[in-house]
Structures are given as structure tokens and as C-alpha cells.
């Protein structure tokens, strides 16, 4: 049996990857054996972060053995986790999402807070345990918070995220504004990706009552540019709906400069979206001014209207 494995969700984003690496560091500093891994390919933003800070990507895994000890970061829903998670021994969860599709047979350490980023909670854990934060670890945590809160512009941002960034800026020696914009822009270069890859890049599976849905999101600095690929993206979504027998697929193209989203919505339960947002889809698409957060502004609306 491997030592305790630490990982975030499938379709990893910057918070998921950084949280796993940071948690490995924290566990080691507390004298515990643990190893960060990942469940999918890095996106360009995360690649930029790891290159810039000079940290290797965690090893990729696809499934785990029965009884494997694990620490989950940045997720808890089994549908977003590793294959065979049902048979793992979950020792710990650190997360900032709702709790759903999750259970254990024994008591565990579970720490969730309604803050903008898992790394904000990890930052507090370093403080609470009186563990010093190294320069690179500070850079990783700051990157994750910038990523999840879109440089503190997302409504998911809290005072605790702001406070963490302030302190992490000092330790990491990185300037949040300047470094953050470069990092976010690196993530918007999606020209290399096929449409199939685009819709899988940051995609969350979720259950809406008895309906099965996916909500994918990409960041861009130019919505119009991305909408040029609407036809091939729709084709990929339709194939995915058929393959996974989905009722709804929402693909959000989020403008990180102006804080709006254009969505492409397909599936036989598109009425959930239309009811939720009070908008008729035209040619399978709609513009959502001020919407940038899947967790805070899209998922709850779908859940309430399912």
C-alpha cells in the first residue's frame, strides 16, 4: 500500500494542484508521510504557475486500491474524485465547496469554510499549527487564491482570501496584481485545445435532483474570439451528452477582464437553465452579465430550479 495520497478533483485547476502540493508540504512538516498526486492534465494557467515558481507537477493517477488512505483537497463529491474513492479510507478533507455525494464509515478530520479558495484554509492551517510557510509554498497558495477569485474580483472572494493574499505577497516576493494578470492570461490561451478538450478542461459533474448535468467553464480575455468556435464546441457537447447520458450541459465562457460570461447550454433539461436565469436561450446561448463564479452564481441557480 502506498503512503497517504493527497489529491484534488478531476479536471484539475490551479487550486486543486497547488492545494495538493501545499498539503503534502504541511503534512511533512507535521511529521506525516504523504504524497500529492493529480487526477488529470494540467491546464495552461497551472503550467504557468508551476514553471514560474519552479515546482514539479504531481504524478498522475487514475484510480486507487481498496483501503488506500487519502486526503482530499478542493473537493468532496465522489463523482468529482478518483476512481474507487468509495473504498478508500478518507483521513481528511480540506475544501471550500458544498458537501454532497460524500460519506465515510468512520470519523475523520473535515475542514470546510465558505471562502474563495482551498489554499486560504491551508494558509490558516499553517498558522494554527505554527508551521512556517516557505517562499515557494507561499507562491503556490497565492496563485491558487488569485485563480479561484479571479484576482479578488469574483463574488466568492472573502476578507480571509484578501488577508491571505496580502501576507503571501510578502513571503513569496511576487506582486499579486502583476503576476496574477500574467497568470490568468496564460490560462486563457486555449488555441491549442480541441473542442473536446475545451469542454473537459474544467468540468464539474453534478446531480440536479434526479437529473445528471455537467457545468464546464473556461476563462478568456475575449468572448467573441471563443464564440468563433461555437459550432465545434456544440458538436463536442452533444457527443458528451450522448456518451454520458446527461440531461444538461452548461459551458460557461468567462471574461476575466470584464467579469461576464457567455454560456452555451444543451441537453433535454435546458429548461432548468432558462427557468433559473429567467432567460430564453437563443441559438443555445445566452449572455450573463456579472456572472463569473460557477460555484456561487451558476450551480446554486441550477440546483434550486431542478
Amino acid at each position: 500500500m502506498e503512503k497517504t495520497l493527497i489529491f484534488g478533483h478531476k479536471s484539475p485547476d490551479t487550486d486543486t494542484i497547488c492545494s495538493a502540493i501545499v498539503m503534502e508540504n504541511l503534512q511533512k512538516k507535521l511529521g506525516k508521510e504523504a504524497k500529492a498526486v493529480r487526477l488529470g492534465n494540467l491546464n495552461k494557467e497551472t503550467e504557468y504557475v508551476l514553471n514560474h515558481i519552479g515546482v514539479d507537477a504531481p504524478e498522475m493517477i487514475n484510480e486507487i486500491e481498496d483501503g488506500q488512505e487519502v486526503i482530499l483537497v478542493d473537493h468532496n463529491e465522489f463523482s468529482q474524485s478518483v476512481k474507487n474513492i468509495e473504498n478508500a479510507k478518507i483521513k481528511m478533507v480540506v475544501d471550500h465547496h458544498r458537501i454532497c455525494d460524500f460519506q465515510t464509515s468512520e470519523p475523520l478530520y473535515y475542514r470546510a469554510e465558505p471562502v474563495g479558495c482551498t489554499c486560504t484554509i491551508l494558509y490558516k492551517l499553517y498558522k494554527e499549527n505554527n508551521v512556517e510557510i516557505d517562499k515557494k509554498i507561499a507562491g503556490l497558495m497565492m496563485s491558487a487564491i488569485i485563480s479561484d477569485t479571479l484576482l479578488l474580483k469574483s463574488p466568492t472572494k472573502t476578507q480571509e482570501d484578501e488577508k491571505a493574499i496580502e501576507e503571501l505577497e510578502k513571503i513569496s516576493g511576487l506582486k499579486a496584481q502583476e503576476y496574477g494578470l500574467d497568470m490568468l492570461k496564460a490560462g486563457t490561451d486555449l488555441s491549442d485545445f480541441t473542442a473536446n478538450e475545451l469542454i473537459a478542461l474544467d468540468c464539474k459533474v453534478c446531480s440536479l435532483k434526479d437529473k445528471s448535468a455537467k457545468v464546464a467553464q473556461v476563462n478568456t480575455a475575449d468572448i467573441a474570439d471563443m464564440m468563433k468556435r461555437k459550432e465545434e464546441i456544440e458538436e463536442s457537447i452533444k457527443n458528451d451528452i450522448e456518451k454520458d447520458n446527461l440531461d444538461l450541459f452548461v459551458f460557461a465562457i468567462t471574461d476575466i477582464i470584464n467579469s461576464n460570461s457567455q454560456v452555451i447550454v444543451l441537453g433535454k433539461s435546458s429548461d432548468i437553465f432558462e427557468r433559473g436565469f429567467g432567460k430564453k436561450l437563443e441559438d443555445n446561448t445566452a449572455f450573463l452579465p456579472g456572472v463569473v463564479s460557477r460555484k456561487k452564481q451558476i450551480l446554486p441557480v441550477l440546483q434550486e430550479n431542478a
Copy 2:
């Protein structure tokens, strides 16, 4: 709409009642409006605690309105919670049990640790938030830890529970050993209770795969004395099985002086118990040496063998 309501599980025990009162105190000291309530009658041990320390019992409620803001302490499973919990807005959970039959539609503050008692976690929250602990609040927390860990003799006890008791002893001015034994003994006077009341006094509903079970527990200083009432207890259990359509009912009579349990087991899935403990039931009963913890020594065994 009422202000935020704080409550523990149904069939309240000392940890559930004390945690609710303590959490109300902590919330108020942090400048937040909240009110402790309870979901059932006090047991004799808890009555002894509240009388000795001089604190009123929280008001009893039976159900909550849609959208009510709540804080759960000492439980998370909806089956153990208040009626209509599915439609509450769960702001926070502080607990030390496994997570199961629980979900939210939005991010929340969730703090679980695998320690012996919810009040041990609450004690840490006072420290983390730099909030001073009053004498009475210290007494309540200490009582809860003594109750849940049977004066630190249960295998659920951790170093953190021990450390908390040490410090709370100083603040409360109570002597843990002396006060603790009196308190535990007060809880073992069950002569007033009908058999129906006995099996409901500290009873947890749980799902074992597709089976529905209840595991009830009473503390005693004299197993033989309690077993004199075996026949009427079995009658009550049989009625309860029929009423709630249960597959299994385990009633544990736990000797808090010698740390053993005698169990009465009924229901068509009694084989789960027999398989789990490698014991044939004789006349519906078995002796389990060294078993005192439902959470750590009974529930996991049933769950693994269902």
C-alpha cells in the same frame, strides 16, 4: 424567521446539549445572534450536569421552518436531526462523527475532527478565536468530554480530549475524577424509565447498506440489574422494529465501571451482528468484553458486515 438555531441530535445526550449551549455562548461572544435548542428530553446525566453547574436547559423544538438558518453540533446525519432539516440553511457543523446522509446546496463551515467529544473541538475554537472561556462554559465542556469518553476510559478518547479536560478542570474549578464519577452514576439511575423510554434514551438510527437499523445504548454500574428487565426490553424492541420497519435493533447495556457491554439484539438481520462480532446470540443476547463505544466499536463492525 427565528435567529440561527443551534442543536445536536435527537435523543440528546450530555455532549449534544452542552455543545449547543456552548456554541450559543461562542457565537454571541463573536458578535453573532444564535440560540441553542434541543430535540428531545434530557437524560438524567445531563439533568445532573445542568443542575450542578446552574444552567437552564435549552428550549425544545420538534421541527423547523423552510429556510431556517441552523448550526448543527454533535451530528450531521439528517436521520438524526430535526424534522425538515432538508430544507434548512445549514451555516455550520461542528461534529466528531463520520459524515453520512448529509448534504448542502451551498458552501458552509464544517469542522469535524476524530476526537472523543464535540466539546473538545469547541474548546479549540475558543482558543483559535481568542475568546475567553467562562467558568460555567468550562464546566459544561468538561462534563461533555467526561460523558463521551467515560472519564477518558473509552477508546474514542484522544490526547486532545485529555488536554482539554486538564485545562477545563482549572477554569471550571471542578475535579474531573470526583465530579465525573458522580455525574456518570447519576446517568445510570434508569429505574424511573419504562422499557420504551430505555430503548429511546440514546438511540441512533443508521443505514447499513440497504438495511435500516437502530443502535441504542444505556450506561449502568450493574449489568445484571438491568438484565432483570430483559423481557420487557425485548418486547419494546420488537414493537419498535415493527413500527419503524427495522431490519436490526442492537441495545447495548454498557458497564461504565468495568468497561464491558451486554447487548440485546433483535431483527431479521441479526446475522450482521453475529458475523461482525463472531458470536452466536444466545437467547438474543451476547457479552462484549471491553466494548464501550458505539461509534468506535459497534457501528463500524455492523457497517463492515452489512
